[in-house]
Amino acid sequence: MKYVEYINELIRNKILEKEKIVVFGQNIAAGSCLGGLTRNLKVREGGLIINTQNSENTLCGVGFGLMLGKVASIYFMKQQDFLLLGIDQLVNTYNFIRRKNPETSFTIFPIIVDNGYQGLQSSLNNFGDFCSIARVPGFAVTNKADAEKIINSQLLSPGFRIIGVSQRLFGQKVLDAKPVYINQEGTVFQYKEGKRATIACFNFSFSYGLGLQERLKEKGLESSLFSVNSMTRTNWSRIIEDAGETQNLILIDDSKSENLSCYALASDIMSQCQLKNKIIVKRELSKNWLWPNPDLLEIDYKKIIEQLS
């Protein structure tokens, strides 16, 4: 099953659990239904599915107004860069609402357009910075296990959050890795345990981390594999503990932020552990970052393997 099909199925089932829910967004029930993300959505009697106008600021405010009116809602968004128009609502309105532990749920569900060739808006498809500026929880969905955990526990829970999905992964087979550990917050997943290296993946980079873990294993280097699915600082004590034992840390972050979340983890680990190797794999901005390009994270597996061998 493809990544987008799996997420669509989870969303459809979850929405049917809730009475009087409002699901809204541009083209969510028309055309491709956001590339299949919102295909065949149905709500229970009394709920609404609204194919909306193109007014992102107002649509963010509508979600918060519904929250104040004690009606749960989800706002699906075709491209995360559109969310820039609603940043005032994410910050100012939610700051007003969150003073009193809201009873109702509002989730914005954007597609992070990270599949390249987006031109000038590319740098705004940058999930972490939106969560940071508004100090709101954000969850990246990268595979079968985290999709199930995040959508089932977060999509309709009281409060506000952003759940992001990767356009780059839409057409790919959904990765099926079994977690051996999930932190209490549901933001850090561990999939493999090993003594030679600690790999921590941020944003939507889990597939790269899984690829690296498999290549290291082929060379006899067993490594621990983590995914940090939170967009902001979280409880990552397990990763710190693991890095303290392996003393070889590899951080992979495919976000387009200038303030990568992985830097915060690196800082925490460096202040607590002695490392032999610290490798950070991130996007290197080329001089043509302003115009359409493949925009892919490049990872030199061979070089990393040589460094750890």
């Binding site: 009394g46 106008q53 007014s55 649509l59 405010g61 509508v62 609502q89 007003f96």
Partner: protein, 308 residues
């Protein structure tokens, strides 16, 4: 003279005198937060509060003192909030520009121009989902109608058949700039017409007329499931003339926020002897001695309330 509801007149006077007391304290420098007084805005605030019933909900802007006074019916909780005390209206957490009072159905206040209009749209949609027969009233100003959120929200409300009263307090100024100094006219009636939304202008400063009009417009909005724009032309009283070497005769500074230096409580509730002042308009409806007595009684009650 026609018999007018005395309680309504008392409310206008109470809100005026309460603000004048806040102004006196403001002049003494007791507040650390910015407060936007709304002297001259009392008639519309009393009218809005009067037509609210049951689960009707009100959203206000940064200049919200008059609506909070009208709904809360007391000065001390608001004063304490401005002093950031724990026993303030919002526990000292909201100060002035975001001051709401959920218990009295002021459910949201925003310090950002136009920000409350999208939130009002969502609240009205929640009422539609829950099949509630009450209305959402959102107060904003002439500055906010320059924001995209105003047009976007109107479009959303109309497209989704939502009942909302949009009260636009138009005082003709943005900080120290007159509307005509910064932009072309916005014909709200034409915008309303373009979106098939109802529009009404209020400008008399007569609180009784405002109540009658708002009652009608509220019912109209609920019955027809459409938003209604109510533009209220008013004057924010408290401007003064600032003399500088460049302007030795003094340049008029329109009141925006902070204390109003030339307004004194000892001069009584009327600030301007013209139709710009809702208290002046109100006074004409009553015998002079009746009005003065009423005013003195209210001031006495407020002094007693604020004696600590």
């Amino acid at each position: 003279m026609q018999n007018y509801d005395l309680e309504i007149a008392k409310e206008v006077l109470r809100i005026r005198l309460s603000q004048m007391i806040v102004n006196e304290k403001y002049k003494e420098g007791v507040f650390k937060i910015p407060i936007h007084l709304a002297m001259g805005h009392e008639a519309i605030a009393v009218a809005v509060s009067s037509v609210m019933q049951g689960d009707d909900q009100l959203l206000v802007s940064h200049r919200n003192i008059h609506y909070n006074l009208a709904r809360t019916k007391a000065l001390n909780p608001e004063l304490d909030e401005y002093l950031l005390r724990e026993n303030g209206l919002a526990g000292g957490q909201l100060g002035s520009m975001n001051l709401a009072n959920e218990e009295k159905n002021i459910v949201y206040a925003s310090s950002i121009l136009g920000n409350n209009l999208p939130v009002a749209s969502g609240l009205a949609l929640a009422k539609k989902v829950k099949r509630e027969k009450s209305i959402v009233i959102v107060e904003t100003g002439d500055g906010a109608i320059e924001e995209g959120a105003f047009y976007e929200s109107l479009l959303f409300m109309k497209s989704n058949n939502l009942s909302v009263l949009i009260v636009i307090e138009n005082n003709g100024w943005s900080l120290a700039t007159k509307i005509k100094e910064r932009r072309c006219d916005i014909n709200l009636d034409k915008i309303a017409e373009a979106l098939s939304v109802k529009y009404e202008k209020l400008s008399s400063n007569n609180v009784y007329e405002y109540i009658d009009k708002l009652k009608f417009l509220k019912e109209y909005s609920l019955e027809n499931k459409i938003p209604v724009i109510v533009e209220v032309e008013l004057t924010t009283l408290g401007g003064w003339h600032l003399k500088t070497p460049e302007n030795p005769e003094g340049r008029f500074i329109n009141y925006h926020a902070g204390p109003a230096p030339e307004i004194n409580l000892e001069n009584g509730p009327e600030i301007e002897s013209s139709e710009n002042d809702p208290v002046f308009v109100l006074a004409k409806l009553f015998e002079k001695d009746v009005f003065q007595k009423m005013s003195q009684e209210i001031l006495g009650e407020l002094r007693k309330e604020t004696e600590r």
